[in-house]
Symmetry: C2
C-alpha cells in the first residue's frame, strides 16, 4: 500500500513538463508501415528508452526485432508483491491524406483542450499517461513501490504486431505478471469513463478462385467459360442469407446468446443505433434482424469483405476473362466461437459451394479468439475504483467490436488477463487526419494509473496468486529476434 497524495501532487506540479514531453514525443514521425520512417521509429524507441530511465524505471532495453524495436523497462518492488505489465505502442499510422490536416501531423498544436498530431491519442498520449503515472509514483516513493512493474512498448502495433508473439513466447518466463494494463482504447465521453469488457475475435481468410490458366479474350471465349470473378461474386453473395445472417452451416451453433439483463445494460450504457450509423457516415445502417446496431457490432458475429481483386483494374477497358479473382474475408467472432472451428466450417462450406468449373483455395491469415473479461477479477475492481476517483464517476462496462491481438497474446502466451484502461475519446479521429488527444484525459489518465497502482497494491487478498519470483529472471533473459 502506498499513499497516492504524493504522486498525485507530483503529477499536478509537473503537468506542464509532461505536456511538453508529450509534444516532443508526438513530433517524432514513428510511422511503422513506411520504410522511409524506419530510422524515425528507431529514434522514437530511443527517446522512449531515455524517458523511461529518467522516470525512474530500471533495466531499460531497446530490443531489436526483425523490423522495429520493442522497448522494455521494469521496476522491482517487493518480490512477494503483485506484478503489473504495462503495454502500449509508440508507432503511429501513416498520415495520408496529409492535405486534410489542419496543421502538420508531426508539428503538434494545442487548440482548446486538445493536442493535435498523429499519434496524440493512438497511442503516444495514452502510453505516456502510463509512464508519467509510474514516474510520479517512483519519484515520490524513493524508487521503491510495493508492487513490481514491467513495461512493454512496441513499435509495430499499427502493422499488426508481427514480432510480438515470438517475443512473448521467447520471454514468457521473464514476462509473468498478475495483470496487464493496456491504454489504447476510448471512453464514451470525458466525464463517462468506461472499461472495455469484451473484444470480438477475428478470423481473416483469403479466398482465391482460379479459372483459365491465363487471362482469356472475353470476345473469343465470353459465354463459354465460367468467369472466376463471377464465381467469386456468387460465392460471396451466398455467404449471407435473407435474414442477413452468415449462411455457413454451423456458424452460429456456439454463439453465446446474451440474456435480457445484459442486453438491457448494454442498451443503457452503449451508443444508440443512430449514433453508430452517424459515426459510420452512412445513411442507413444494416445488419442482422433482431439486434441493435451496438449488439450487431459487439455480441454478434459479422463478415465483411475487406478487399476484392481480379482482372483489369486500370482506366478504360481490357477485354478479358480474368484467370483468377481473390477476396479477403474478415469474420468477427463472439464469445463461444472458436476461430479454429469456424475456420473448418468455412473451408468445408467453400468446398461444398465451389463449382466444378474453377479451382478454389482458401488460406487463413489471421486468427484471434474473442475475449470476455471477468468483471470480478481484482484488477477490474481496482480499475473501477481508480477511474471513479480520477474521473469523478463510476466507469461503465462497454464492449468493443474490434480485436486487439495483444490482449489475446497476453492471455494465450503469458496467461495474463488484461485491463483495457483507455483514455481516448470517440472523436479523437485516430488513423485519420486531425487526430487529437483531449488533454484533460491525459491528466486524469495519469491520475487513474496512479490510483490503479495503489488499488492493486492495497488489495492484499488478491495476493494469493502473485507471479512470484518471475521478475527475478528478467531482464538478462530477454530475447529479441533481430
Amino acid at each position: 500500500m502506498f499513499d497516492v497524495a504524493g504522486p498525485l501532487a507530483y503529477a499536478r506540479a509537473n503537468s506542464k513538463r509532461f505536456l511538453s514531453e508529450l509534444t516532443d514525443f508526438v513530433r517524432i514521425p514513428t510511422v511503422s508501415a513506411q520504410p522511409r520512417h524506419k530510422e524515425d521509429v528507431k529514434r522514437g524507441a530511443l527517446w522512449l528508452a531515455k524517458h523511461l530511465r529518467r522516470a525512474g524505471l530500471k533495466n531499460v532495453k531497446v530490443i531489436p526485432t526483425r523490423r522495429h524495436p520493442l522497448v522494455y523497462a521494469d521496476s522491482r518492488g517487493r518480490p512477494d508483491g503483485p506484478t503489473v505489465l504495462f503495454y502500449g505502442h509508440y508507432d503511429v499510422q501513416p498520415v495520408d491524406p496529409v492535405d486534410e490536416w489542419s496543421s502538420p501531423p508531426f508539428e503538434p498544436r494545442i487548440r482548446g483542450n486538445d493536442l493535435y498530431g498523429r499519434g496524440a491519442s493512438d497511442d503516444k498520449g495514452q502510453l505516456l499517461a502510463q509512464i508519467k503515472a509510474l514516474e510520479s509514483c517512483l519519484r515520490t516513493a524513493g524508487g521503491r513501490l510495493p508492487i513490481n512493474i514491467k513495461c512493454i512498448f512496441e513499435g509495430e502495433e499499427e502493422i499488426g504486431s508481427p514480432n510480438l508473439p515470438s517475443f512473448l513466447t521467447r520471454n514468457r518466463g521473464a514476462l509473468g505478471a498478475d495483470v496487464a494494463v493496456l491504454s489504447d482504447s476510448s471512453i464514451p465521453a470525458p466525464d463517462r469513463p468506461a472499461i472495455t469488457c469484451s473484444l470480438r475475435g477475428a478470423l481473416s481468410m483469403e479466398l482465391e478462385v482460379r479459372g483459365p490458366e491465363a487471362d482469356l479474350h472475353s470476345g473469343k471465349f465470353g459465354g463459354a467459360v465460367h468467369d472466376p470473378v463471377q464465381v467469386l461474386c456468387e460465392m460471396i453473395a451466398g455467404l449471407h442469407d435473407k435474414n442477413r445472417r452468415i449462411a455457413i452451416p454451423g456458424f452460429y451453433d456456439r454463439v453465446l446468446e446474451y440474456g435480457e439483463e445484459e442486453r438491457a445494460y448494454m442498451k443503457t450504457v452503449g451508443p444508440s443505433d443512430a449514433r453508430i450509423t452517424r459515426d459510420a457516415q452512412v445513411e442507413k445502417g444494416r445488419g442482422e434482424y433482431g439486434f441493435t446496431q451496438y449488439e450487431r457490432t459487439t455480441i454478434r458475429p459479422a463478415l465483411t469483405i475487406n478487399g476484392i481483386t481480379g482482372g483489369y483494374q486500370g482506366k478504360g477497358n481490357k477485354s478479358i476473362i480474368p484467370a483468377l479473382a481473390r477476396a479477403k474475408l474478415g469474420f468477427r467472432l463472439v464469445k463461444g466461437q472458436q476461430p479454429r472451428e469456424i475456420e473448418d466450417l468455412v473451408r468445408r462450406h467453400i468446398r461444398r459451394i465451389t463449382p466444378r468449373t474453377v479451382h478454389c483455395s482458401i488460406r487463413t491469415t489471421l486468427s484471434a479468439k474473442p475475449i470476455e473479461i471477468n468483471r470480478n477479477h481484482f484488477s477490474i475492481n481496482a480499475a473501477e475504483a481508480a477511474y471513479s476517483k480520477a474521473f469523478g464517476s463510476k466507469p461503465v462496462f462497454v464492449r468493443s467490436g474490434g480485436t486487439i491481438p495483444a490482449v489475446n497474446l497476453f492471455k494465450e502466451i503469458l496467461g495474463v488477463p488484461t485491463v483495457l484502461m483507455g483514455f481516448g475519446l470517440p472523436g479523437d479521429r485516430i488513423h485519420a487526419p486531425d487526430e487529437k488527444f483531449h488533454l484533460p484525459n491525459f491528466y486524469k489518465g495519469i491520475a487513474a494509473c496512479i490510483r490503479f497502482l495503489a488499488e492493486i497494491a492495497s488489495r492484499r487478498s488478491l495476493m494469493a496468486h502473485p507471479a512470484k519470483g518471475r521478475v527475478k529472471r528478467m531482464p538478462a533473459a530477454l530475447r529479441g529476434n533481430a
Copy 2:
C-alpha cells in the same frame, strides 16, 4: 481488269526480299501501350511510310495524332474505278512475360515454316502481305491499276484505336471507298481459308458501389453497415440466372434466333465444344443451356466481368469495410441488339436492384454494334474467289465472338463495309509469348490480296456505286489531331 500472272510472278520472284523486309519490320518494338516505346512506334511509322513509297504508293503521309501517328497512302487508278481501303496496324502488344519467349520478341527468328516475334502475325505480317500485294500489282502495271487504293495503317490498335474515330470523322469525305479490307484475323488451318462473317458487338460499363464516406474499421462497424463489396458481389451474382442467361429484363428480346440451316452450317465449319474448351485452357466449359460452345461465343450474347476492385488488395490484412467497390462489366451483343437499348436496360436494372444502403453509379466506356456481313456483297464474292485460287480451297464463313472497333467505325463513319480477310492461324499465340506467323500464309496472303484486287476490278457490274470523285479530294484535306 488486270492480269494477275505478272503480279504473282513478281511476288514469287521477290519472296525472299519480302521475308527479309517483314523481319526488319518485326524488329522495331512498336509497343503502343508503353510510353518508353513512343519513339519506336514513330520509327515504325516512318519505316512503313518509306516502305509504302518504295512499293509504288503515292501521297504517303505520316499523320500525327494525340499519341501515335497514322500512316496514309494511296494510288489513284481510274476515277470511275472502284476504291478499296486497306486497313491494318503496325503497333504491337507488350511482350510480358518476356522470360517465357523462346527467343527475344524483337529479334525475329525462323523456325520451321514460322517466323517468331512480337507482331509477326498481329498485325505486321498480315499488313505487309497487303502492301506486298499492292507492290506486286503496281510494279508490274507501271504504277497504274484499274482501281483506286487507299491505305490507313494505325499505330494505336492495341490500345483501343483512341484517335481513329476522330481521324475518320474529320476526313470522311477523303476516305470514301467501296470496300475496306482488314487483314487482322485468322483462318481455321493453313488449307482451310475462311471469311469472318460476323462480329459481336460490345458494351463495356463500369459499375461503382459507394457505401460509407471513407473506409471504416471492420471491427468497430462490421455487422452494422452494408459492405459495398458484398453489395457489388450480390448485384453481379444476380446478373445471371439459373439457366446461365443474363438476368436483365428485356435483354434477350431482340436477339436474333438463327434458323436450323445456319446452325447446322456453323456445326460443320466451326470448332467443336472440346476444341473451344481446350483452347480456353479450362477443364470444363460453361454457358447458356441449349447452345454449343461455338454458338455461345458467336451468336449468343455474353457478360463477363473483366475486372473487379475494392478495399485492401495488398499482402496480409486490413480491417476495413471499404468505402467503394467497382467492377467492369463486359457485354458482348449479337445481331438484333442495339448497344444503346441494352445500355438503358442495364441502367434501369441496376437502379432497380440497388439497395437503399449504398449509392450506385454506372458509366459506359465502350459501345459497338454487332456486325453481320452481307455474304452476297460483291466484295465478299471477290474475296471468296481470291481465297479459293490462292489457298486451293473454297473459304468457309466463320463467326467471331470478338469486336473489331475499326469495322464498326468504317461502317458508321464512312459507310463502308469491311471484308475480314485474315491470314493468321489459331495457334499464332498473338498477344502471348512466342507469337509467330506461318510463312506459307504470308505468301498465300499476298497472292490472295493480288487476286482480290483483280476480282474487284473485274466485277464491272458492281461498279454501279463507286465512291466516285472522292479520291480526288485526298490527300491535302487529311487532318490529324495532334
